[in-house]
Symmetry: C2
């Protein structure tokens, strides 16, 4: 265990590290050449087209020559604080603004708690001095003098700790309530202030029953015309286009080769690039590469248009899913909240996510398979959390020297070398673990995908939940109790329920120094690394050097990134847990937590304003989870404190703690009733008010035209795009009447609005689409399915048609 | 522990007891004088007005002289089986028919299980013979030879038991699935086949917000006219009439005295009854009783009509609750399933229970208090279940001899008498426990009332759930592990989670004989007692002797009773638990369970057809609970078998059982998704179909007139009733314009239907009301609030206005 000095040294080192990162950031960010790495958000929002301080000189274009700016290297901090919350909502979206609120909530909870704990508990702990007198004999850390460990067993001073725990819980609950209330109100206000969007009028219907002799669209049309006669407007079918998606992928590969050879030819125009047609270009006839790939692409386009026609015509490829649109928010809200059929597994309706939030592959999963999928994934997550060390230990056992010798005896002469040996022994086992931890969030995301959620935002939230459980067991419990999670599970199963909090509670004060170091390394330095954006910086410059030809290419090379909820939320929740657990036990940990929250708040605020570009808007749907996890942390802290007290034989004071979990749970239940519906259901009162307002301001609106292809399957959109760039547009337009028909019908049936703005709608969409390429692809197996057009374009388009 | 012979003797005794009951029943039921005790349902349904076999002779009116009928004393059994299920639904309601299905479900699950267990397990158990050889040394029961105890530890024969548990679980799940499916379909069919009823069009709205300057009816009207403009029809307000209810109670007391004196006068016409006006009639002036009470009643009526006016006029006495009616089932279903306001604690809508099912007192409870009430009751139930022995032990300690001596030393001479002493010592402590157990269901019902549910059916279900927990802990676990529930709780908290099933599992086979006896005494004999109806028989004849003057009085004296779900469901679920737990452990218990289910099925079928008259119709809303408890029993049995196996060191076979609980839970989740919505939500498809059908068949229907006072607060109805019998009707009709206005308005605004049948509606209601007196008052603190008009009258009325 570390002394106070050790902690101080560690803090200094980490502060120095963070400081270095900040200096590097301050220098790098003012270089015009890095402008697209550190301010991509402004390029995306259209406010900036070229670096701000571009001098006339050639050097000035790449390096900042204005030496004055180097002295004000921390001025990003006040800049980050300038923007108001409502401006952030407009600029970066509601999710980002609410995400920042988690940090302010942390500050609001922990700063007063810190003051209280430092003023009350530290004097109490220090004055008691069990460890104080035993110092000579025992090796105890100085930190322990400030913690509850320093209080003698059976002391009546434990009443102070219990009082602090009570006050702290009350304070935390009060802040949680206020914040939940604010967020829920803000969400409703945001929804009310939003302009017309397709998701407000649309409901996704799953498990459309198979009616013999009727196609899916007929069935859907008939059902909703019967059961929602007053508000039903139209619907869009969903196609199973896996095969077509494969073709799109292959065509992209061809296009890449074609681009590559064209580029090559441009650089050395006097030399025609050639290639061989055989396997991997290793043998076969030598041909002109550009012509060859042009020819190939042309043929491919033909195949694709045939496949496309097949998809649209073959009723077997039509999924039992539809996006059903209504003529009012009221109608959509009613349909989303009610049960349609007497068989509750058919005609499942729910509010449609916004178009860019949809995960198309999961739309086709039938109901019965969902139960099984959830069971399988539930078991897998349990196994992953508790037994993840088993496969890693196996890989590690393979990846050590003996293992290598056995598998590859011919390497023996090399592995006998001393420096190779020590490198392998020190490096290989650690590498296996690192790789596992690095790919873990993606694995969890894939697991969530298998569970069958249809919105990307839900998938991220589910993955975040799984990651939280993993961290709770393997980081929090794993650090407190030595041994693997599997060993913990085994010992928990064989201990009595009252013994478990005692076992954990006893070791908690001893691990305070470890967690303080953890907060500094993972928190402080990690956040400083976040602002530096080393990886995107390197990749951007590499791309810039080798690939970028035009301004558009440069935009494509830009990678704004986004707040990765599935990783940041769980680690944030872990910090909340640490702060809450140690508040009454080792209060000296709280200043470190507060510094983390304050620093991370500044950094994320800066990043959200200048860098990140969110992939979708879930309107703060993650808040109930954040709230729930903080409540869970409170419960954990109360149980552990009870266990610790019991082990200190403070029999007089421990029973006082029993009421606290009951009250906390009741508070949670109340909040759930009071606020959670605001995150799931759209209240009819709101819907009706918004409908009425709209009817008054725009009485001659043609809704159907707007909604006709808002939820068109993205592959058709991407295809149109490709064609739009080529010359064959006209031919293909004739070949694909199925998609157009609905729209043209709509337009011709509404001559009034055809002249108005809404009819431009589709063109706006398409003009936005090409830029969708540079939106950093969300990690996903087949990215063709997704259609990311940027938030700002989307909003542009919104503004235009309103 | 008992030998097989002991069990045989006990079975014989119980069979003989049951047989005696049946003989007594067979003799009593064919006496014309008892006809109203054993066949009240037929009187209520109007099919019978006087005993069937009424001879001309005077004796024949009271005693059955037809000696032939005495020989066919078991012919009620085939008679009970004759009626088909659909006839039972028509005759006794859906709840009763579904209640009978629980018994057939028991038979369907346990009869094949019994055959399997007897054929496979008993030979396996007997052949093993650990106990077989140890017989001489150990005192073991013969039953144990047939149970799993007889198998040697580490034997591979445990695979048989595990296979049987698997087969049994699969079979039980299969039957549960089929039955849930059937019941859900039957429920929807029943709802679809029902004629028009007010609850189909009505939604109960709670927590109407307080708008300054607006009365509650105005607020409600405005809100629903705005947010449900297409389907909203009208609404009925609810009044806080606690004070008025007290007056009604007092007036009833006066009326009773008046009736008593009138009766007295009639019996001895030459003597005028007198009484004193002072305290308890002990002093004061002597007056003519009849005149005095007549005068008192007249004055009271005046006070009441003043109070009544006050209630109706004072907007402070109007509760923030309303029954909102729609013009279609679709509209009501939509309103019940959706969230209305952005504050989810306001405008809480849910489907209205049928008028006779409403528990009026709970309508006024505000939302925030509901959370607290649930918390308080949750804690109380926990305390009641685990610490109920503490107050009883306290009372017992008071109620023993020493206690009595201390409290009442003047009784010492009497308590010193030997026979008084032994009586008190043997009787008093037991009496305290008996009284507690006897009032327990009512206490639990009161607790459920405090929780704030607004329908009597929900209250009964909640009370049943609490009673089940009580029985599970105190009867099931309490019998298996010696010691009080509190001691169990203590030991569970200090044992590891894997140890608990082991502790219980080990003692389970040893308690088989106890539970076999329990099934015979509580089950067999209890059911036989049920059919005899000793208590109603005695009370009816007492009333007949002393009170009955007219035929109407005789009808009032009739107490048909009803299936008391809050007691029968939990005990049924306990039998399921016993059968499921012992199926693989001591299969010899299964025949006893099967006999119970078969016998109880016959008896309840007979009672439902001939006796019981249900208070309300919940359309089988209790089925999901029955299903859930049986699933829970399966889980308990799997865990206990695992514990038992572990204690038998059957390490090879135990892990095979781990999959079973996971599968069972998954099955439960699937069923919950698949069927439970059918018991809560009315699907829009169904609602729309029914609406359409009705519109086609009765295009000129006036809904508003029918719905105008369907949910009128019962005290106003009861008052009208009282007045309807007196002469002051007209005066009061003028005095209470508030209630009438709405209805008259409606009628005058629809001249077409005023001539048609619907306008008779109110009269029909009123004519039905007087008979509501004899409906046995549901146990409830202030029964004036309730308004029980009988099912058959209600249905009559339904038929008439359709």
């Amino acid at each position: 265990m570390a002394t106070l000095q050790d902690i101080g040294v560690s803090a200094l080192i980490n502060l120095f590290g963070a400081f270095l990162f900040l200096i590097a950031f301050a220098v790098l960010r003012i270089q015009p050449i890095n402008d697209r790495v550190y301010f991509p958000k402004w390029y995306l929002s259209g406010d900036r087209n070229s670096p701000r301080r571009s001098d006339a000189t050639l050097v000035g274009k790449f390096v900042n020559l204005n030496y004055k700016t180097y002295f004000t290297f921390l001025n990003w901090m006040p800049q980050a604080m300038k923007m108001s919350e409502s401006e952030i909502i407009r600029h970066a979206g509601f999710d980002s603004a609410i995400f920042l609120r988690i940090y302010t909530l942390g500050l609001k909870i922990f700063v007063p708690a810190m003051v209280l704990a430092l003023v009350v508990l530290i004097p109490v702990n220090v004055s008691s001095g069990t460890l104080f007198f035993l110092k000579k004999e025992l090796v105890v850390s100085d930190i322990d003098k400030l913690s509850i460990s320093n209080v003698q067993p059976k002391s009546s001073k434990f009443f102070f700790h219990i009082a602090v725990e009570y006050l702290f819980t009350l304070w935390a609950c009060f802040m949680l309530y206020r914040e939940y209330n604010n967020v829920a109100l803000m969400r409703l206000q945001y929804l009310a202030s939003q302009r017309r969007r397709p998701e407000q009028f649309t409901v996704v219907v799953r498990n459309v029953p198979d009616m013999p002799g009727h196609s899916v669209p007929d069935t859907v049309d008939q059902f909703f015309k019967t059961n929602h006669p007053e508000h039903y407007l139209c619907h869009q079918a969903v196609y199973n286009a896996n095969k077509y998606a494969k073709l799109v992928k292959q065509r992209e590969r061809l296009q890449n080769w074609f681009d590559y050879y064209v580029l090559k030819h441009q650089r050395s125009p006097h030399k025609k690039p050639t290639c061989r047609t055989g396997f991997l270009g290793l043998w076969g006839n030598k041909v002109d590469s550009i012509e060859y790939y042009q020819q190939q692409i042309r043929e491919f386009d033909h195949t694709m248009s045939l496949e496309r026609q097949k998809v649209l015509k073959d009723s077997k490829l039509m999924l039992p899913v539809a996006f059903v649109s209504f003529d009012s928010r009221w109608g959509a809200s009613v349909c989303a909240q009610t049960q349609q059929s007497k068989n509750p597994t058919l005609w499942l309706t729910s509010s449609a996510p916004e178009p860019r939030d949809i995960y198309w592959q999961n739309l086709a999963i039938p109901f019965i398979s969902l139960t099984i999928r959830k069971l399988v994934i539930g078991v897998s997550v349990f196994a992953l959390v508790f037994f993840y060390m088993i496969p890693i230990a196996f890989v590690q056992s393979l990846a050590n020297l003996q293992g290598l010798d056995r598998v590859a005896p011919f390497l023996r002469p090399i592995t006998r070398l001393d420096f190779v040996k020590s490198f392998l022994q020190g490096f290989l086992p650690g590498l296996a673990l690192k790789i596992f931890l690095w790919i873990l969030p993606s694995v969890l995301l894939v697991m969530s995908k298998i569970e069958g959620y249809i919105a990307l935002s839900t998938l991220e939230r589910r993955a975040a939940a799984k990651y939280y459980y993993f961290m709770l067991v393997n980081v929090f419990l794993g650090s407190i109790i030595a041994g693997t999670a599997f060993e913990q599970l085994h010992s928990f199963l064989h201990q009595s329920p009252t013994q478990i909090p005692r076992t954990i509670g006893v070791s908690i004060p001893m691990k305070a120094t470890f967690f303080i170091t953890y907060i500094m390394v993972d928190g402080w330095a990690g956040i400083a690394g976040e602002i530096l954006r080393l990886k995107p910086l390197v990749i951007f410059h590499l791309k810039n050097m080798f690939l970028v030809k035009t301004e558009r290419d440069r935009e494509r090379a830009m990678d704004p990134g986004f707040v990765d909820f599935k990783e940041t939320l769980p680690s944030l929740q872990l910090y909340f847990l640490l702060g809450i657990v140690y508040a009454a036990i080792t209060p000296i940990l709280l200043p470190f937590i507060c510094v983390f929250f304050a620093f991370a708040y500044l950094v994320y605020r800066h990043q959200i304003i200048n860098v990140y570009n969110q992939q979708y808007e879930s309107c703060g749907a993650f808040w109930p989870h954040v709230h729930g996890r903080i409540i869970a942390s409170l419960l954990i802290s109360q149980l552990l404190l009870m266990g610790l007290m019991a082990s200190k034989e403070a029999a007089d004071s421990t029973p006082l703690l029993i009421i606290l979990p009951v009250l906390t749970l009741t508070f949670h239940k109340y909040c759930k009733h009071r606020f959670e519906p605001a995150f799931g259901k759209y209240p009819l009162e709101e819907a009706m008010a918004k409908d009425k307002l709209e009817k008054e301001t725009e009485p001659e609106l043609n809704m159907k035209a707007d909604l006709a292809d808002a939820y068109l399957h993205p592959i058709f959109r991407s295809f149109e795009e490709e064609l739009g760039e080529g010359e064959e547009e006209k031919r293909h337009r004739e070949e694909m009447p199925e998609v157009k028909v609905d729209k043209h019908e709509t337009l011709s049936s509404s001559p009034v609005t055809e002249l108005g703005t809404p009819s431009h709608h589709h063109q706006v969409y398409n003009s936005a689409s090409p830029s969708s390429h540079y939106a950093s692809a969300y990690e996903q197996s087949s990215s063709q399915y997704e259609y990311h057009y940027e938030a700002h374009r989307y909003e542009d388009h919104e503004y235009r048609y309103n």
